[in-house]
Subunit: 344 residues, 2 copies
DNA sequence: GCGCGGAATTGGATCGTTCCAAAATCTGCC
DNA sequence: GGCAGATTTTGGAACGATCCAATTCCGCGC
């Protein structure tokens, strides 16, 4: 019938107590007498009362939401991450404000500005590629709890910032993969794919190089190939691995998409991945388990990362003045057929 | 420094005007004189003012958010859908309140109740399997704009409800796939996979049966196989297609996951999908394009569906009293190698 | 100098809830 | 019956914005 919302005043009038008493009952205070409580609760049900958290938050000067901004929801890695975040926030009584940026730093600024107006208790941000830390600082203000996930925006002085940071253990992951290939007897191992200027690619390359040097091998420049992190571009650039006479016999790839593309490119040249050439990926996307050959890769458990991120931001909202935390999440090497090729 | 939030009062005090004037400037009203506007705007920037939309919404008795509740974010179909929803809502100045239910009707009730407290302008709901319309009606109340996506909860009297509904054209999609196989000469075609009691499976089966009958063929009971809609269970149930002597030579599958599982199961029996047996899927998940053989399937463009859902809910929020709309989204047959097998 | 009309500005009430200090009610006990 | 002390209840002022009716300001013509 009525389009009007039922308020505490309606309840108070309906059962002859004051607004303050209704409010006490709503919040489960022990103060009201049992009889009063019962009377009020009956009236709440009768009128179909719905709590207005916005009004309560306004008065209490607090917030019951956390903003989650991701660069690309249609990437399963981030979708899973978001699911983990929402799961944990929901369990803690917070609601998730979603924003997606489609990898555009400009859109990211707009999205963040809009979310800020909803007064979130904190922000979990997986920045768009090319994000600028100064611009981010501008919209986010100086006090809001912030957790940056997975990528480092440029121009962030972490030492002077209160932002938390959570990333995968890219370095260790790449080192694990490299080590695995070395154990299979490979010596000429490439690092294939990714944009060298992105922070995750830098870290993975470092892990690869360290593992190689630990085995007494200096990576040759021809073994480092840059690509867009997509299947298509990776397939197209396969040829550049085979220009020198020291052509590699195995490749650690930037991620699974690149690895799948490389395997496609290898097939086109008559090279069978897994038999003639060993390949590893990164991420363990669902497809990795069922490609031919199945892809050796690093599992990152994005959902667990999401839960971790949410817990971190809640903790920071509770105690804002502890120092910033840099977290590194473990990765797990999953060995499948694509790295079976051993050196003859 | 100060943890306190900057308010219109601070701005008003800071530049010697009243709160009302600041408010007018904030909302871009033409009333304030240019000089005043400039003065206020300078002060806003100087103090780093952030608009408090919750307070404004409270006074204006409106809402600037829409709730999006999905059953499973880690399913790429729904993740894409969510991306589309958020894109459109964001462009319209709304923020997305996210909730995920993990296919649990109980959790769905809790999530919805929590979201309702944030007073959304509307709700887009892709219900968990086994949702009950009566329970949903309870939490959602009688007046909130609601769009149900993709599945029908039980016990909903659509004729008496104001809920909008948007689903894929399941019936037509299955009919298209069936027709395609008939054209290739197949006569004994199975419908493989899915839970028969789910609304989407029912609709797809109907489309399949209608296409068969239109070609003068009565589907045999042995050609209807139920499975959990997962790759694994589908693979395990492959055998049940080949028990009678009228074994099918092709199958329309409930979705891509099932189709990929079936192809696996066929391979294990020495049958090559695409050559000895034709298979079609539904959804066009990313994997479909790169499986071996590539999977013929129905593209549903979940992102566009998300945009559509968001537009619908915004439209309804604008004009609440128009009758409920039942929308059906087109699907597109994508022909790939898995259906190349023709009847000899 | 005064009155007029339009433009610009403003004080105070309001949205739905919670906080706080004070008032009302209930106990038990002399 | 009266009174201290505890238990319950309550009115009114917040929170940060907006609405509305009323007021001030200003230029201009007579």
């Amino acid at each position: 019938m009525s389009g009007r919302r039922v308020t505490v005043t309606d309840i108070a009038l309906g059962c002859g107590v004051s607004r303050a008493t209704v409010s006490l009952v709503l919040r489960g205070s022990p103060l009201p007498a049992a009889a009063t409580r019962a009377k009020v609760e009956a009236e709440l049900k009768k009128q179909g009362y719905v709590y207005n958290r916005a009004a309560a938050n306004l008065r209490q000067r607090r917030s019951s939401s956390v903003a989650l901004v991701v660069n690309d929801l249609s990437n399963p890695f981030f979708a899973d991450f978001a699911a983990g975040v929402d799961e944990t926030l929901g369990a803690a009584g917070y609601v998730t404000l979603l924003g997606s940026t489609g990898e555009s730093p400009e859109r990211q600024q707009r999205v963040l500005a809009s979310l800020m107006e909803h007064d979130p208790a904190g922000i979990i941000l997986s920045p768009a590629e090319g994000s600028d830390g100064v611009a981010l600082g501008q919209v986010l203000g100086a006090h809001l709890p912030v957790l940056v996930f997975n990528r480092e925006p440029s121009h962030v002085r972490w030492s002077a910032s209160h932002w938390d940071y959570l990333a995968l253990d890219n370095r260790r992951g790449a080192a694990l993969a490299t080590h695995h290939l070395l154990e299979r007897g490979h010596r000429r191992i490439a690092f294939f794919g990714g944009h060298a200027e992105s922070s995750s690619c830098r870290d993975r390359r470092r892990g690869y190089a360290e593992a190689m040097r630990a085995a007494g091998i200096e990576p040759e420049p021809g073994w480092l190939v840059e690509t867009t992190p997509t299947r298509l571009d990776a397939a197209a650039r396969t040829a550049s691995l085979f220009t020198s006479k020291h052509a590699p016999t195995a490749a650690v790839c930037y991620n699974d998409a690149v690895a799948l593309g490389l395997m496609l490119g290898l097939g086109a040249r008559g090279i069978t991945a897994g038999r003639d050439f060993a390949v590893t990926g990164f991420d363990d996307i669902p497809e990795a388990a069922v490609s031919t050959p199945a892809l050796t890769t690093l599992a990152t458990d994005p959902r667990a990362r999401g839960r971790q991120a949410a817990e971190r931001i809640l903790e920071r909202a509770r105690r804002p003045d502890t120092g910033a935390v840099r977290g590194v999440a473990p990765v797990r090497l999953i060995i499948r057929a694509s790295s079976e090729a051993t050196l003859t």
